[in-house]
C-alpha cells in the first residue's frame, strides 16, 4: 500500500519534471507540426502567407507527385547512400578515437580532445575552402598526391561517380568529433574494475573492447546512432556549400530538395516531402531502438 502511494507520488513528480518540455512543445511545436502536416494536403504557396487558410484542399496530390518526381527519387536514393555509409563511418571513427584517447593518452589529453572536436566547430565556409583545395580536379592536393604515386586521379566533386563518396567522407570528418565527445563521457562510466577483471581473465584488447566496453556503451551507441541518422537523413549543408546538389543531381539530398521547394514557394509540396522524410526518420529510429535496446532488461 505504502509502496503504491510512493509509486504514484514518483509518477506525479515525473510528470512535473516533464512539464517544461511539454509546455514548450505545446506552445511552439504542436501547432507548427500540425501546420506542416496540414499544408501537405493543400495547395498552400508562399504567396498565401498572409491568408494561409484560404487555400484549397488537394488531398494526396502532392504525395502522388512525390512518387513520380525524378529529382526527389534520385534525392531519396542519394540520402539512403548517405545514411548507409555515413552513419557507420562517423560513429566508427568517433568510437575508435574515443577508445584510443580514453585508454592510451595521458599526456596532452586536452590537445587531442580539442583537436578532434575542431572539425565539428569550424565554420563551414572555412571547411569548404580547405576541402575544395584538397579535392580540386585540376590542382587539388589529393590529385597531386595520386599523380605522384602513379595512381589514376578523379574530378571528385565534379564527377558524378565520386561526388557523393567525397561528400560522405567530408561529412564523417566533420561529424565524428561530436560522437567522440559523447563516447568519451560515456567511457568514464565504465568501471575500471571491469577491465581489470577481464585482464586477469586473460582477455586481449579486442576481447575487452567487445565484451566490456561495447556492452557498457549501448545506451550511448543508441544515442549517437539515432542522432547521426537524423543528421544524415537531413543531410544538406555539405551539398549546399560544396556542390549545390550537382553534378546532375548526384549529390542532391532529400533535405536539399525540400529546401529548394520551400525556396521556390511550393509549401504544400515541400510539406508533403517533409512529412514523408519525417516518417522515414521515425522508422529508422524505431529500428535502432529495437536493435540497440538495453541488454540488462533482457538478462533480468
Amino acid at each position: 500500500m505504502r509502496r503504491g502511494r510512493a509509486h504514484a507520488r514518483r509518477g506525479r513528480i515525473g510528470l512535473l519534471f516533464s512539464m517544461p518540455f511539454l509546455a514548450v512543445f505545446a506552445v511552439l511545436y504542436a501547432g507548427p507540426l500540425l501546420a506542416g502536416l496540414g499544408m501537405s494536403v493543400t495547395d498552400l504557396r508562399s504567396t498565401d502567407a498572409q491568408h494561409p487558410f484560404s487555400v484549397d484542399f488537394v488531398g494526396l496530390r502532392h504525395y502522388r507527385r512525390l512518387l513520380h518526381d525524378e529529382v526527389m527519387r534520385k534525392a531519396a536514393w542519394n540520402t539512403l547512400v548517405f545514411v548507409a555509409a555515413g552513419v557507420p563511418l562517423t560513429i566508427g571513427c568517433g568510437l575508435v578515437a574515443a577508445v584510443l584517447m580514453h585508454r592510451g593518452v595521458d599526456r596532452a589529453r586536452a590537445l587531442f580532445r580539442v583537436g578532434y572536436f575542431l572539425p565539428h566547430v569550424t565554420s563551414i565556409v572555412a571547411v569548404a575552402v580547405i576541402w575544395r583545395f584538397v579535392l580540386d580536379p585540376q590542382s587539388g592536393l589529393l590529385n597531386e598526391g595520386l599523380r605522384a604515386a602513379g595512381l589514376p586521379t578523379a574530378a571528385w566533386l565534379a564527377d558524378e561517380r565520386t561526388a557523393l563518396p567525397s561528400l560522405i567522407a567530408m561529412a564523417a570528418w566533420r561529424g565524428f568529433g561530436f560522437d567522440m565527445v559523447v563516447f568519451l563521457a560515456a567511457l568514464q562510466g565504465v568501471p575500471r574494475e571491469l577491465y581489470e577483471a577481464a585482464e586477469t581473465d586473460g582477455a586481449g584488447a579486442w576481447a575487452r573492447f567487445r565484451y566490456v566496453t561495447l556492452p557498457m556503451l549501448r545506451p550511448t551507441l543508441l544515442f549517437t546512432s539515432v542522432y547521426s541518422s537524423i543528421g544524415f537523413l537531413q543531410f544538406m549543408e555539405e551539398p549546399l556549400v560544396m556542390t549545390k546538389g550537382g553534378p546532375d543531381g548526384a549529390t542532391e539530398s532529400v533535405s536539399l530538395a525540400i529546401y529548394q521547394q520551400f525556396g521556390g514557394g511550393d509549401y504544400g509540396y515541400a510539406g508533403a516531402a517533409s512529412t514523408v522524410l519525417f516518417f522515414v526518420i521515425v522508422l529508422v529510429a524505431l529500428l535502432q531502438f529495437r536493435v540497440l535496446r538495453p541488454r540488462h532488461l533482457e538478462a533480468r
Binding site: 509509486h7 507520488r9 514518483r10 509518477g11 506525479r12 513528480i13 515525473g14 510528470l15 519534471f17 516533464s18 517544461p20 518540455f21 514548450v24 512543445f25 511552439l28 501547432g31 507540426l33 501546420a35 506542416g36 502567407a49 578515437a97 592510451g104 593518452v105 589529453r109 586536452a110 575542431l118 572539425p119 565539428h120 569550424t122 565554420s123 565556409v125 572555412a126 580547405i130 576541402w131 583545395f133 580540386d136 570528418w173 568529433g177 565527445v181 568519451l184 563521457a185 560515456a186 568514464q188 562510466g189 575500471r192 586473460g202 586481449g204 584488447a205 545506451p219 550511448t220 543508441l222 544515442f223 542522432y227 537531413q234 525540400i258 529546401y259 517533409s274 519525417f278 526518420i281 521515425v282
Partner: protein, 299 residues
C-alpha cells in the same frame, strides 16, 4: 594491434624483452602500445586541425591571398585588415553580447530542464511516459525548415518578435539534450536511488544531490553541445531579429557572405571570433569528461 597490446604476450621486439621478467615485459608492451596510439592519434590530429589552423592563419592574410589558388598556408603578407573590417562593420560589442546572452540562457535552461525531463523519462514511471518520450523524439526528428514560418507566427502573436527571448524560446528544452540525459541517467543503478529513498530522501533531493552529481560528464557534454547549438544557430535568430541591435554573431556574419563578392578576410576573422569561445569552453569542460562516475563513488 592486439598482438602488441595483449598483456603478457611475447611481442618479439627484441631479445632483451624476451629475457626480461614478465612485469617489465608487460610495461615494455604497454609503452609500445602507447607510442603506437600516440602516433596514430597525432597523425589524425594533423588531418583534423589543419582547416582550423588555416582559418586562424588566413584571418591574417589580405583578401587576394586568401582567394589565391593554390592557397598559401602561412600568411605571406600578414595584415589585420580582416579584423579591422570586422570591427568597423559588425558592431561586434552588440552582436557578441547578444550571442553570449542567448547562449547563456539556452545552456542554463537546457542543463536544468533537459536533465529534469531526462530523469523523469529514465527513472520516474508515470502514465503517458512513453508518449512524452515519443514527443521528444518527434520534435528532434522533424525537419526544422517546416517549422520556421508557423513558429514565427506564434512568436509574433506572443509579441516576442525582435527580442532575444523570442530567439531563445523554442530551444529552452532541447530534445537532443533530453534524449542524451535520459540515456545517461538510465545507466545509474536503481539500487542507488532506492537506497536513498529508503533513507527518506525526496525525489527533488535525489535529483539534485545524487542524480545530477553522478551525471557530471553528461552535463559537461550537454553544456558543450547546447552551447554549440545556441552559438551557431543561424536561420531562426536571423528571422526573429528585425533590427541589427538583436543580431547574433552568425547572423551578422552572414551579411557578408554573398555568392561571388564574399568578404573572405572579414569572414575568416569572424570565424576565429566564433570558434575561440567554443574552444575555450571545451578546454574548461574537458576535465569533467575524465572525472567520471567511477571517481564519484559508484562501483
Amino acid at each position: 594491434m592486439s598482438t602488441v597490446t595483449a598483456p603478457g604476450r611475447d611481442t618479439g621486439a627484441a631479445p632483451s624483452v624476451r629475457d626480461a621478467p614478465p612485469r617489465t615485459r608487460r610495461a615494455r608492451g604497454e609503452r609500445l602500445r602507447r607510442t603506437a596510439i600516440y602516433a596514430a592519434l597525432s597523425l589524425g590530429l594533423g588531418l583534423v586541425v589543419t582547416p582550423f589552423a588555416w582559418t586562424l592563419l588566413s584571418s591574417f592574410k589580405p583578401e587576394h591571398e586568401i582567394r589565391q589558388s593554390p592557397p598559401t598556408f602561412l600568411p605571406a603578407h600578414p595584415t589585420l585588415a580582416g579584423y579591422r573590417e570586422m570591427l568597423a562593420s559588425l558592431h561586434l560589442g552588440t552582436t557578441f553580447t547578444n550571442s553570449v546572452l542567448v547562449a547563456a540562457a539556452q545552456v542554463s535552461a537546457n542543463l536544468l530542464l533537459c536533465s529534469m525531463a531526462g530523469y523523469a523519462l529514465a527513472k520516474l514511471p508515470f502514465p503517458g511516459r512513453r508518449a512524452v518520450f515519443g514527443l521528444v523524439m518527434a520534435q528532434m526528428m522533424v525537419p526544422g525548415i517546416v517549422l520556421v514560418i508557423p513558429q514565427f507566427v506564434v512568436v509574433t502573436r506572443l509579441g516576442l518578435t525582435d527580442t532575444l527571448l523570442g530567439v531563445v524560446l523554442p530551444y529552452l528544452v532541447w530534445p537532443l539534450g533530453v534524449f542524451l540525459m535520459r540515456q545517461f541517467i538510465a545507466e545509474i543503478p536503481d539500487e542507488l536511488l532506492q537506497a536513498a529513498r529508503i533513507d527518506g530522501a525526496g525525489e527533488f533531493r535525489i535529483f539534485f544531490r545524487i542524480v545530477l552529481p553522478l551525471c557530471r560528464p553528461a552535463l559537461a557534454t550537454l553544456t558543450l553541445l547546447s552551447f554549440l547549438n545556441a552559438w551557431n544557430n543561424f536561420l531562426w535568430p536571423a528571422i526573429v531579429a528585425q533590427t541589427q541591435d538583436r543580431y547574433t554573431l552568425p547572423v551578422a556574419l552572414a551579411l557578408f557572405s554573398n555568392e561571388e563578392t564574399t568578404h573572405y578576410g572579414l569572414l575568416l576573422a569572424g570565424a576565429v571570433v566564433v570558434i575561440t569561445p567554443i574552444v575555450v569552453l571545451f578546454l574548461c569542460l574537458q576535465r569533467f569528461f575524465i572525472e567520471g562516475i567511477a571517481s564519484t563513488g559508484i562501483k
